[in-house]
Each structure stands twice: as structure tokens, then as C-alpha cells.
């Protein structure tokens, strides 16, 4: 049995700040995360042609890693962290991922030795646990996935991460139907059950190899909702529903920490400020400097409490300013330098609040994720921290309440967004408070409606 969080790591929202966490973590080559400074976390993807063989892939990663490190010392940056999100071949063939990690770590060691630059390396195996249209969370693929973690940990990856998919089969159905109970069931209940299983095992591997079980994200669901919601003029999902999905994702991501993750949390977890308020563990974030990978409506705001600052992903290719990884890592590093100056000069809270106000009223999503409100969502989660269902429902309710209490002259919502919020509230009000009733009702409903839902095989019901 894992111990669930029932209290907050911070006494007040205002205590939360970028670059600092209650429980910093330390990588092998001098890098500390959350220990008082923000560091760039550079992300990249190999060119499609490079995926055809192990040799080509390894050589692609060798080149791009060298490029990043070379640029970092040319411009005088004190620290840098790298994240390798596996392409599928690297996870399915654990030795491939292992070899890439080894080659990368060797380059980092050389630079660390020669220049003293602090470095970290995160490896993120892909969640390969599926067969075509069906999730296959438990079984042979799970074993391969764990072998992949072993291989990258053995080869030198400091931080172990993954973007798990538990609960996604329900989310994919529910999100296109404004189905709030479905969001709570898919993300908050099924997702957390899977997270509890997988993160217990990742932690065991990390401990065995002396690495750090870093953290997960609800990319598969909350980011799916955010992308379907899209920009202001997109018509696929109300932004007020996207933020409810996001709020519900916080207790899911939290379940990873409860099972053994220590941070830094994954960059694309926009729920991370809520999670940090509860765990006090460091987090990575992405926003204004990840526009190479996606657009969002809160690019500055998400910097508010980050410990690593990421560009999410960029394909390795040439740009006018060097290779893409050099350009984007340089931008990230300059961002980090600015944040660190604010810290050094005693202006960190001022800068944090400027970043937040730049986006707080741009969209309901940013409004709820602003650290003061994120903290309130955190409180709602820990209030019933021991009950996976109730804490997810609490998170949803608190995000709705926060929006309803907003100053409507500042956070101006469309009638459509307001109506979606009203419907969501009505549906939450109509829900039971009994976990068991909810779980058995949902089981029956979604078994009937979602053909690909296999509760026994995937969640051991």
C-alpha cells in the first residue's frame, strides 16, 4: 500500500517559486534541481531517416548531444539538462535506448570534466503498452518497458520518466462528449491505479541503479484535452472543460510521487504547479520556449514555479542559427539566466508575478493554473487524499468554483465557455460521493459504451 498525500508541502501559495523546491534532487554530474536555480532542459527528436537502424539513431543522438553541449559552453551557461524521449524502437529494443543513454552520458561526462558544467540526463521510454487499438498495460509489453528502464538507468540516465497512458481509453471517449464523470473515472481513478503500479516498479529500478525516479505527466489525457480545446477560436472543446480535465490530472500525476517518484516532474505536465504545491518536489515545465513543438495559451505563466525549463521537442535539423537543438537550448538557457538573476537580486517573486499576470486572464486554463489558484486545487485534493475518486472529484469541483468566483471583468469568458462550465457543475453536483458506487456504476456504463475498455486485463479489477 502506498501512502497518499493528505497535506500540502507549502504553508502558503506565495512560498512557491521557480528554481526552488522543498525536496531538491541531485544528479551525478553536479546538477541539482530545485536547489535555488533554474536549469534549461533541452528536448529533441531524431530525423525520421535516422530511425532505420540502431547505428544511425545512436549517431544522430551523438551529434545532437555534442551540439547542445558545445553551444552551452560557447555562451557560458553553468548548467544544462537533456531529455531523450524515446522513439518507439528505442523502448521496444531496450539495448538501443541503453546505448543512446550511454553515448549521451559519456559526452556529458567529457564536458563536465573539461569545463565543470553541471549536467543531467533524463530518459523517457515510450509507453509501448498497447496492441493496435487496445491498451495492454499489464503483460509482456510491461516487462519490455521495465527492461528499457533498467537499460537506460544502467547506462547513465539520471532521471527516469515516462508519459503513461492508463485511463486513456475512457478519456478518448469522454472528452468528445463533455462527459465529466468519464474524465474523473478515466484520469482520476483508472489513471491513478496504473500510475501506482508502474511507479512502484520504476522506483525499484531507480534505487537498484542509483538513479532518480523523476516523474510522469498526464500528457495522454490532459494534454489531449488541451490540444483538442486548441486556441481561442477553435470549436472542438470548451476551454473550461479542458481545465477541468487538467485539474483532475493533478491527483493522477500525484499518484506517481506517492508510489516513489521524486521529481523533476515531466515538462508537459501543465498540472505540475498543483502537484508541486502538494509534494514540494521539483518540476520541469514548458511554455513560451516550446513553441517549436506546440502552441498554448499560457506560455509565460507556466514558468512561475519551474525548476527545469524545457522546449518539449524539436526535430534535429539545420537552422540559420546553428542546429535546431543549439538554437532552442540557447533560448532556454537565456530564459533560465533571467530567472536566476531575479533570484540572485531578490526579485524572484516580482518576476514570478509578472509572468503570471501576462497570462492569468488570457484563458480559463491559465487562470486556474496560476499558482495562487493552483494551490487551492491542491488543498481540495489533499482534503480527501486517501480516496482516489473523491480527490479527483474535489479537484474538478475546485477548478469550477475558482472560475465561477473569478472577476468577470478581468477573466472574460464566452457564453459558450460559461455554459459548458454550468453543465459541468450540474453534472458534478449530481454525482455520488461514494467511491464504490461510482466505480461500479462507471464500470457498467463504460463496459457497455466503450468497446476497447478491458478493465480486468488492464487494471486487475
Amino acid at each position: 500500500m502506498v501512502k497518499r498525500y493528505t497535506s500540502m508541502a507549502y504553508k502558503a501559495a506565495d512560498d512557491m517559486i521557480f528554481g526552488k523546491s522543498v525536496y531538491p534532487v541531485k544528479a551525478e554530474l553536479g546538477l541539482e534541481v530545485g536547489a535555488g536555480y533554474v536549469t534549461a532542459e533541452v528536448n529533441y527528436a531524431p530525423r525520421p531517416e535516422a530511425g532505420v537502424s540502431k547505428e544511425k539513431l545512436v549517431s544522430e543522438y551523438r551529434r545532437l548531444t555534442t551540439d547542445i553541449m558545445a553551444r552551452a559552453v560557447q555562451v557560458g551557461f553553468p548548467a544544462v539538462s537533456l531529455e531523450t524521449e524515446h522513439v518507439e524502437q528505442m523502448t521496444n529494443n531496450p539495448t538501443w535506448g541503453g546505448e543512446v543513454a550511454h553515448v549521451q552520458k559519456t559526452i556529458l561526462e567529457e564536458y563536465h570534466e573539461e569545463y565543470g558544467i553541471k549536467c543531467g540526463l533524463r530518459h523517457t521510454p515510450g509507453d509501448i503498452r498497447e496492441d493496435r487499438d487496445l491498451l495492454a498495460l499489464i503483460g509482456a509489453k510491461y516487462d519490455t518497458l521495465m527492461e528499457s528502464f533498467e537499460a537506460v538507468a544502467e547506462a547513465g540516465a539520471d532521471f527516469l520518466s515516462i508519459e503513461t497512458m492508463g485511463g486513456k481509453e475512457i478519456l478518448d471517449y469522454a472528452i468528445l462528449r463533455n462527459d465529466v464523470p468519464g474524465l474523473i473515472y478515466g484520469i482520476g481513478c483508472l489513471g491513478s491505479i496504473d500510475m501506482t503500479m508502474i511507479w512502484s516498479d520504476i522506483r525499484k529500478i531507480a534505487d537498484k541503479k542509483g538513479r532518480i525516479a523523476a516523474g510522469d505527466t498526464d500528457c495522454a489525457q490532459a494534454n489531449t484535452a488541451m490540444f483538442i480545446a486548441g486556441g481561442l477560436l477553435d470549436k472542438n472543446l470548451a476551454h473550461t472543460l479542458a481545465i477541468i480535465a487538467r485539474a483532475i490530472s493533478a491527483p493522477r500525476t500525484l499518484a506517481g510521487y506517492e508510489a516513489g517518484a521524486q521529481g523533476p516532474g515531466k515538462d508537459c505536465g501543465y498540472e505540475n504547479t498543483i502537484v508541486k504545491s502538494i509534494t514540494g518536489c521539483p518540476i520541469a515545465q514548458e511554455g513560451k520556449t516550446s513553441t517549436c513543438a506546440h502552441s498554448d495559451v499560457m506560455g509565460n505563466l507556466v514558468m512561475q514555479c519551474c525548476d527545469l525549463w524545457s522546449n518539449e521537442s524539436v526535430e534535429y535539423h539545420a537552422e540559420f542559427g546553428g542546429t535546431s537543438v543549439q538554437c532552442w537550448s540557447e533560448s532556454l538557457n537565456y530564459d533560465a539566466a533571467m530567472l536566476n538573476v531575479a533570484t540572485e537580486t531578490g526579485n524572484a517573486k516580482m518576476l514570478r508575478d509578472i509572468l503570471v499576470l501576462s497570462d492569468k486572464y488570457r484563458d480559463p486554463q491559465g487562470y486556474v493554473l496560476a499558482y495562487d489558484n493552483a494551490y487551492k486545487v491542491g488543498q481540495a485534493i489533499v482534503k480527501d487524499g486517501d480516496d482516489l475518486f473523491l480527490r479527483a472529484k474535489n479537484a474538478a469541483i475546485s477548478s469550477v468554483d475558482i472560475l465561477n468566483a473569478a472577476d468577470s471583468k478581468k477573466l472574460v469568458m464566452s457564453k459558450f465557455e460559461i455554459n459548458a462550465l454550468k453543465d459541468a457543475k450540474a453534472s458534478l453536483d449530481a454525482m455520488t460521493d461514494e467511491s464504490e458506487t461510482f466505480m461500479s456504476d462507471c464500470m457498467e456504463k463504460y463496459k457497455a459504451e466503450v468497446a476497447v475498455f478491458r478493465p480486468d486485463a488492464n487494471y486487475k479489477f
Partner: protein, 253 residues
């Protein structure tokens, strides 16, 4: 610290919102006569039970169950998709309406003891190696909502399976979705294999990674920017447009 945000950002969605609510706009579009009006309203609201109840009443009143499909159910659904195309309502409403309409069709088929001829058959798939299937699911739902029969091959679909399905089903159109720059190349292979077999079926391709510049590189490809373009293209094919004309209509530059 706080600010008046009006100087630093504009929520254009609020500015552009129509004065009339979607419900008011829809009400103006519903047929005047009963029971069509009630059934259309039930489709708009996505209420399956009310759709069935309305159909039952209509059939008791002497209506032909099979004719109700085209005369009422499709009419109600068209109101919904028109409002979506205009940007008045959002996708989940369309999905819920489509669910309700499809249940209505099933009911009519049972009652009438036969099935009407669908407008045409379309095969949908997600590129080999790619699991991103939400865009494809939306495309399939909008096609069904527009009265087409959809054969959904799902995600991560091997090229062989796509070719086999086209041979077996003889669809009027094929759709492909890819969200990764690494997987979209499968479309070229699908195109080449279709041409080898002499199958000149229009192949509409979309999804995050795909753009027009990529799609114009293969003969059968027509680019689809958003999901709503799929039923538009299917209707254009029904209206007799050939590949060249389809490209002219759906390619933006």
C-alpha cells in the same frame, strides 16, 4: 499585484460570439411540422431516448420508418453540422447528436425491416506506426453524421491492411491521419500501392504533422485541414468532382 488585462490581451472568441444563443439559432432552423420538429430538437440536444420516443410516435401516426431516416433524422443532423461549420456549436455537441441520430437510424431499420442505401462508403485509417487517433475518430464521426458508411481501420494501420480494405470495400474515398513526421510517409506508400493496383480512389490526408506541401507530392492525395473537410470532400465527390477539382477546392495555396 494585479492588472487590468485589457491592454495586454484580447479574447477574440468572446468578441466574435454571436448575439443569439445556439439554441435560438437551432430553433429557427428546425422543421415547422411535428413530429419532425420534436425529433430534430432531440437530436440537437443529443437525447437518444427522446429521439426514439419521437420516432415511435411518428411510426404510430403512420410514417414510413425507413423514410424517416432521410426525411427527419438526416435533416436534424444537418442542422447540427451546419451550426458546427458556422462555428456556433462545438464538437462534443456534434458527437452527442451523432450518437443520438445513429441510434435513431438503428431503430428505424429494425422497425422498417430493411436498410436504406448509405450515401457512400469511406475507409478511414491512422498511418502505420502512429497511435494518435482522436482526429481520425472525429473525422469518422462527422462522416457518419453526414450519412456516409464508414469502415474504420483504426490506428497504427499497416499499409497492407489499407490496400486490402480498399480492394474489399471499394470505397468512394479513403482518409488517412498522421500526427508524426515519422509516420506520414506511409501515405506515399499507400498511394503508390493503390496506383499499382489501378485503384484511383481519392485519398484525403490530414492530422497534425501533415500539410499541403507534403500531400501534393503524391497523385491521389488531397489535403484536409480540419475534420469538417472530410464530409465536405465526400459530398464533392458525390457531386461528381474529380481529383483535380478536389485539389482545387481543398488546397489553399
Amino acid at each position: 499585484m494585479d492588472i487590468d488585462p485589457s491592454k495586454i490581451l484580447i479574447r477574440y472568441n468572446v468578441q466574435k460570439e454571436k448575439a443569439q444563443s445556439p439554441e435560438e439559432l437551432a430553433a429557427e432552423m428546425f422543421p415547422k411540422a411535428e413530429p419532425a420538429r420534436t425529433i430534430c430538437a432531440a437530436i440537437f440536444d443529443g437525447e437518444e431516448d427522446d429521439v426514439i420516443e419521437g420516432l415511435e410516435k411518428a411510426i404510430e401516426g403512420g410514417a414510413d420508418a425507413i423514410k424517416l431516416i432521410d426525411d427527419v433524422l438526416m435533416v436534424g443532423m444537418k442542422i447540427v453540422t451546419d451550426l458546427y461549420d458556422q462555428g456556433t456549436i462545438f464538437l462534443p455537441n456534434v458527437m452527442m447528436s451523432a450518437d443520438a441520430m445513429l441510434e435513431g437510424i438503428e431503430f428505424c431499420k429494425e422497425q422498417g425491416g430493411s436498410a436504406p442505401k448509405p450515401k457512400g462508403k469511406i475507409v478511414c485509417h491512422v498511418a502505420e506506426g502512429d497511435v494518435h487517433d482522436i482526429g481520425k475518430t472525429i473525422v469518422a464521426a462527422l462522416l457518419r453524421a453526414a450519412g456516409f458508411e464508414v469502415v474504420d481501420l483504426g490506428r497504427d494501420c499497416p499499409v497492407d491492411e489499407v490496400i486490402a480494405a480498399v480492394k474489399k470495400e471499394s470505397p468512394m474515398m479513403l482518409t488517412g491521419t498522421a500526427l508524426m513526421t515519422t509516420t506520414m510517409y506511409a501515405f506515399k506508400e499507400v498511394n503508390d500501392r493503390l496506383l499499382e493496383s489501378g485503384l484511383k480512389v481519392p485519398f484525403q490526408c490530414g492530422g497534425g504533422a501533415v500539410n499541403q506541401d507534403f500531400v501534393v507530392q503524391y497523385e491521389l492525395g488531397v489535403y484536409g485541414e480540419e475534420a469538417a473537410d472530410a464530409p465536405k470532400m465526400a459530398n464533392a465527390i458525390l457531386a461528381g468532382k474529380g481529383l483535380a477539382q478536389l485539389k482545387e477546392t481543398f488546397h489553399k495555396h
